[in-house]
Symmetry: none
Amino acid sequence: MKEIFGTGQPGGAPPAPAVLAAKVRTLAPSMTRSMQRVAEAVAKDPAGCAALTVTGLAERTGTSEATVVRTARLLGYPGYRDLRLALAGLAAQQQSGRAPALTTDISVDDPLAEVVAKLAHDEQQTLADTAAGLDTTQLGAAVTAAAGARRIDVYGIGASGLVAQDLAQKLLRIGLIAHAHTDPHLAVTNAVQLRSGDVAIAITHSGSTGDVIEPLRVAFEHGATTVAITGRPNGPVTQYADHILTTSTARESELRPAAMSSRTSQLLVVDCLFVGVAQRTYETAGPALAASYEALAHRHRQRR
Amino acid sequence: MKEIFGTGQPGGAPPAPAVLAAKVRTLAPSMTRSMQRVAEAVAKDPAGCAALTVTGLAERTGTSEATVVRTARLLGYPGYRDLRLALAGLAAQQQSGRAPALTTDISVDDPLAEVVAKLAHDEQQTLADTAAGLDTTQLGAAVTAAAGARRIDVYGIGASGLVAQDLAQKLLRIGLIAHAHTDPHLAVTNAVQLRSGDVAIAITHSGSTGDVIEPLRVAFEHGATTVAITGRPNGPVTQYADHILTTSTARESELRPAAMSSRTSQLLVVDCLFVGVAQRTYETAGPALAASYEALAHRHRQRR
DNA sequence: CACGGGTCCGAAAATATCTTTCAGATGTGA
DNA sequence: TCACATCTGAAAGATATTTTCGGACCCGTG
């Protein structure tokens, strides 16, 4: 069997220096234990790790050279050598005056003002990570597909279901035929209707939500162009996805469920997708947006 | 010879990445012809050279590996490997020097990468604004009311409807009785059921969405504690609100409907409200969160 | 003009580093 | 518990870097 790891991102994602920290955060959950140790060490002390050889880093993290190389691959680099280069770059950037973001958990007895500050900061971080980790090539492909689609179906369950609805609502506003499906059975029965030229989009943070994967699989097998918006670019859902849009995965805690930051991340991706499509179809999207704005104005009371 | 550079590292310490260019200029005259070629190439295109192996750089400069290594030594590095790392650092610093102003609107012909950057930046700004403008006293009051409520109803239409659902979903997870109403008629008929001790929350960006104000009015008149989450702290909706949580109002443009940033803002407020309530009811919320997490895990296929 | 002393240079060997392979270890679901 | 798949590290294999070493070149001198 072929090595599944090496693929990483087939779409030729260039290894970037500044987005490395974001990538670590995004991909950490989909890593194995030893790889996480390596990733953590790398994220914690870029300068120190850049000075180490592959053997040295393996020793420091208590793993083997092979694992270090595998981690480098997962982070999108051809090998450890390149990761090391990026690490040096990151270290240099950090060196040149940057305040390290202080992220503490929210605890039960935090005053409200602090809760607000921490939540806002966290979501900002999530946005930055997502933007940094988003592959614009994949995004472009998804935009092209959606802009020319006969029909667009979006699948999502739970919190992701709301994101799916948000996307569908917006696409409808610019004159596209878009539906959000939050019921697994209905989703599948609708997916059967799809064919080449249609687009199916699955939104799942974990990348392994069966109820969402199933309709995507059906759509995929019926020839539709499929897009996965997920936090686990290696998850099962990507198996049936022509294009993969990666959301960031911030660490969660008891009082801050994963749903919170993943939702922020998903929404940003969805917004990007939407704006991209709106650009592409500006001829019709522009007037449509204006018209829907007009229509809404009449639902508002006039006072004040 | 005396060390004239500001490295502050006398002896065999590795030179900093930033002073590399200066070193090249200073030491160039004392170099041999071939070494000068190498030094020049390195100074002119750090990024490009960092990507080359010792053999590659030798070829590009028309010299040999040995010469490259000798040059690296002359510049103060133990070997080419370390010069290369410094080069990568330098490249990264130069790269990060460019901070493009993102204050402009998104236009039809923006490349996707820029769309992503602008959207992310904008939403970050929105979060900061919201956090800054949120009145923690009002928030505290709303939290207290919600934490002790017999029942919580949330009203929202369109994009705000999704936020309402998000809030209700989360509150349900920690064991509270919460419902989101997106149908105006049903919302009103349900609002009639409310009484003192219950909480009604209206979410409307414009503050003047009749379909949302009406149920809140009914709830208010039936004695429920009412909360308004709105971008217009003076809007009609506040007339029937005991507590007002203000969301930020970012400027909109044709390709970036107001719904986008207002949604981000609303979600942050809703999250704050939720976390506050979860803190307040930690006795029951903690276990409930853990339990719902457990339950979800089984809906996911095995990892990878 | 030839010669000797010095420096400079690069091909190839020697070493270090990185990558791949493979088989045992470990965990997971039926 | 067993079967299966995944994870992991030791060691072999491939690259890259460093060192070695002999020849080329420059230049002043006899």
